[in-house]
Amino acid sequence: MYYLERNSSNVLIIGAGIAGIQAALDLADMGVKVHLVEKRPCIGGKMAQLDKTFPTLDCSICILAPKLSDCYRHPNITLYTLSEVQKVDGSEGNFSVEILKHPRYIKEDVCTGCGDCAKICPVRGILNYFDANLVTLAAAYIPFPSAVPPIYLIDRKRCVYLTHGICVLCTKACDAEAIDFTQKDTIIKLNNISSIIIASGFNLIEDINPLKEYGYKKYPNVVTALEFERLICASGPQQGHLRRLSDGIDPKKIAYIQCAGSRNIKDKKYCSSICCMYTTKEAMITYEHDNEVESYVFYIDMRAGGKGFQKFLERGKAEYNINYINNKIAKIKVDENENPIIIYEDLNDGKIKELKVDLVVLATCIIPSEGNKKLADILGVDLDEYNFIKTKPFFSMETSKKGIFTCGCSHEPMDIPRSVAEASSAAARVAEIAKGR
């Protein structure tokens, strides 16, 4: 018997990354009914895409998976995937909300997750966001094998039945008879929502800016950090065996460029907070895979303020063959074998130098979630100059509107521990209101 159940109302959480999930679990464990809305087909957000996590190098999906399952199975959490909030009225204590839920074209309660639909689907070449678009899938797909919910879906824009009225091979292949092309967009109306938490997460600057000065997209051996996470991840496109995208050769010399697209006036002025640490982590994991790898990290300031972070850096230097070079690089070019050459000024002697490497990894800037602008309009909350959710000084969970709270990267770049703590803090504020005091 939950203490709160007697006088509790419902809560809406937007975004089911680690922050949204933690807030949902905390509230659900207090006995509050939570509606959790996620625009992607599955929950877990960016954390699910990571290989390992700093500073303890736990496998990311391994520590996240139990939370995903808890969230999916919790009696107090109703999960809406492939869904967006499209209308919000009312005020603190009593919002009404409209959720637009897109169809999967696969019956959620019937699909067994066997994957026969994906095997037979003749449409290929659908870029999989989960693998940083490095892998293509069929039009019937699941973003990753351990996705929650474990239900396939059909890409409405690519499926030839939905676009041209032909095929239906998947319908024939599905023994469970789960395929349902009659599904339509549905609108779900929720009333008596006492408060709302925005946990919309983040995008990365490569989503909006080609990063030409680093030769990204032009040179195959210049990749972003998120792409690199997938490349070294056991469940990623190379099954955890790191190879170059140009020629499949194992890279032995890797350069990591910090502050790509951040801390400058031309791009974003702010610091993305997490890159110094995840770069060190990526260099460590790479070394664990192959002890011959040398890493070069080009940085402006090493930011290692979190618990155990400084020690993590020192370990990187001492045990993992990581060289930190205090610098911001000028340019990247390539030789005839697609080996990137980094041109930089050595701050130790002021000279311009070149470093030829096998692979470059860009620590790209965290930018606000692409949906923040629309979401802010719908919710009536203010954004900052970059489109992050604006928060009150010292009270990072408070937005400009009463009854609407935020946590995690939706309002500022931050690491996992802080996102989780902030999620709980937003849940705490919501609990005050849910109890009607």
Binding site: I63, S273, N348
Partner: protein, 562 residues
């Protein structure tokens, strides 16, 4: 619930854990091997057994094959046991009939260079696990009442916000502060970054809310003297000016903060013209500053061998104080000597930009060539120029870190929670349980865990309150059933030597009025110290019985337990 008398039917599930296990061990081979072991009626393998699909496979197999024991060969019970146990329960199997075999941390990860040997070891581990599973017994969990009240230790900014939130959620809250006043370090600060609000203003606001809140009882000048009990039912003794007071609470939050380091013997610190950043706050309060040349040194006494950590907020404190001085008097020369400017995020980076625009000079130094402080000038080697720079000063400000409070050890002992190597409190999980302790019902917030700024202290205060509320919101609670006990039939074996009573780290053992050993089940954590140390082998440890452990050892030697 399945009956224990029916024949043993074991299901074994081997997890690839992506390539964490599958990249080293032949999981299909292990699955086939498991099928050959005694009492195993079903075996399967999954890419991730912890994923929804994997859990579904377990539940379906329990039903289809009428399994009455389930073994998952994968990772660690620390993170995953609750998940697999609840999957078993959902399929009608007592959760204690689930067993873990660790083939990741104890096999594939440590033997990744020797996959063949690792495979043989994994087979042994599974064989042992199967032998143990055969001997497992169904157990009942214990249900306890929850007292809907909380104790917050520490009345700084983090603790006050935690208390305020808990009270607003409807829980009776006790806020205990060892000093005379609430507010902690906020009392010694002048203005706060990033909006330059006066510290006293923020403090006054929260303090008046706390004092007006009838649901919060504040005890200042008060120490914690003892803590007994367990989640939902802690009995705490506090001492206020010599008066002992007993309170009963369901949860406890530790928010004791941290202490600024005094840089004795560092950079000529004298507390007069060479002061700390914290001492500068006090100077700025009455603006009794008459120096035209000010130098600040960052990372004093930290990020070194002795204290291998960054104190997180000192760069921002230095920038804030330098800007305050610059705004009062733009002619004052200020130089900040730093190693790495720590201004993460949006507002802080913007603050750093403002500081540079205001004319504050930033000079980077390396720990190999630290600044040399002389009577009224500083020598610093600039790597970029390749030369030594001399800067005059009338005031030298040393940015020192927060260090762990001296009495953290006592508090940790009272609560039976761990500290890390710098004596800050150690949370249950660095990433996913940042404000929990591994001990149920006890939580951690603010700089007691690690140096953080005010914004993070507040958010952690709320976070810890939310975590406590997940316990306090229930009328009752289930606690671990795998405990130690003295079986009725063994009572005669006990000689009353009291070794167990002295060794029990949870104070769960006492002697009753008949002078017999009694193990209080709700206090017992099942650690097994009592059972292992009992000279007469009278104490039985549920879920880790001698029979269960010996069966594993015999299995390793290729024999059955006689």
């Amino acid at each position: 619930m399945k009956s224990e008398d029916e024949p043993i039917r074991i299901g074994v599930f081997v997890c690839h854990c992506g390539t964490n296990i599958g990249g080293v061990l032949d999981c299909e081979g292990l699955t086939e091997y498991a099928a050959t072991l005694p009492n195993v009626v079903f075996s399967d393998h999954n890419l991730y057994t912890c994923a929804e699909i994997g859990l579904k496979t377990i539940k379906e197999a329990i039903e289809e094959h009428n399994l009455n024991r389930v073994i998952v060969c994968s990772c660690t019970p620390r993170t995953h046991e609750p998940l697999f146990r609840s999957a078993c329960e959902e399929a009608g199997l007592n959760k204690y009939l689930f067993s873990f075999v660790n083939i990741r941390e104890q096999c594939s990860w440590v033997h990744m260079k020797k996959p063949e040997d690792a495979f043989e070891k994994a087979k042994d581990l599974i064989k042992m696990g199967v032998a143990r599973a055969t001997k497992l017994e169904a157990l009942e969990t214990i249900v306890v009442d929850v007292d809907p009240s909380a104790l917050v230790i520490g009345g700084g900014i983090s603790g006050m916000n935690a208390a305020s939130n808990l009270s607003k959620q409807g829980f009776k809250t006790y806020l205990v502060e060892k000093e005379k006043n609430l507010g902690g370090l906020l009392n010694s600060l002048y203005r706060l970054f990033p909006n330059d609000q006066e510290s006293s203003e923020l403090l006054k606001d929260i303090e008046s809310r706390i004092q007006a809140d009838k649901n919060i009882t504040v005890y200042t000048s008060t120490m914690i003297t003892s803590i007994d009990g367990f989640v939902g039912n802690f009995e705490v003794e506090i001492n206020q000016n010599g008066n002992s007071i007993r309170i009963k609470v369901g949860a406890i939050i530790v928010a004791v903060g941290a202490t600024p380091l005094k840089p004795i013997n560092l950079f000529g610190y004298d507390g007069k013209i060479r002061i700390t950043q914290f001492e500068l706050e006090n100077v700025l309060k009455n603006y009794s500053l008459n120096a035209n040349n000010i130098v600040m040194i960052q990372c004093v006494g930290t990020r070194n061998e002795e204290r291998m950590y960054c104190s997180n907020f000192c760069c921002m404190s230095a920038l804030k104080n330098a800007l305050i001085i610059k705004e009062k008097n733009p002619d004052v020369h200020i130089a900040i000597l730093f190693r790495d400017m720590h201004t993460p995020g949006i507002a802080y980076e913007e603050y750093y930009r403002r500081a540079r625009e205001s004319g504050i000079i930033f000079i980077k130094y390396s720990p190999e060539k630290p600044p040399i402080v002389e009577e009224n000038k500083i020598k610093i080697y600039n790597e970029y120029l390749g030369t030594e720079i001399i800067i005059p000063y009338e005031l030298l400000v040393l940015s020192t870190p927060l260090i762990a409070n001296e009495d953290n050890k006592q508090i940790a002992q009272l609560l039976k929670v761990p500290l890390e190597e710098n004596n800050f409190f150690l949370e249950a999980h660095v990433k996913l349980r940042p404000n929990d302790f591994a001990t149920d019902g006890v939580y951690i917030a603010g700089s007691a865990k690690w140096p953080v700024d005010i914004t993070e202290s507040i958010s952690q205060g709320y976070a810890a309150a939310a975590r406590a509320s997940t316990i306090l919101s229930h009328d009752t609670l289930e606690v671990e059933g795998a405990t130690s006990y003295l079986p009725e039939e063994y009572k005669d074996l006990c000689r009353g030597c009291e070794i167990c009573l002295k060794l029990c780290p949870y104070k769960a053992i006492r002697k009753n009025e008949k002078d017999e050993i009694e193990i209080i089940q709700v206090l017992c954590k099942g650690c097994g110290v009592c059972g292992a140390s009992c000279p007469k082998k009278a104490i039985k440890i549920k879920h880790f019985t001698n029979e269960q452990i010996l069966s594993e050892i015999y299995a390793l030697g290729g024999k059955e337990l006689p």
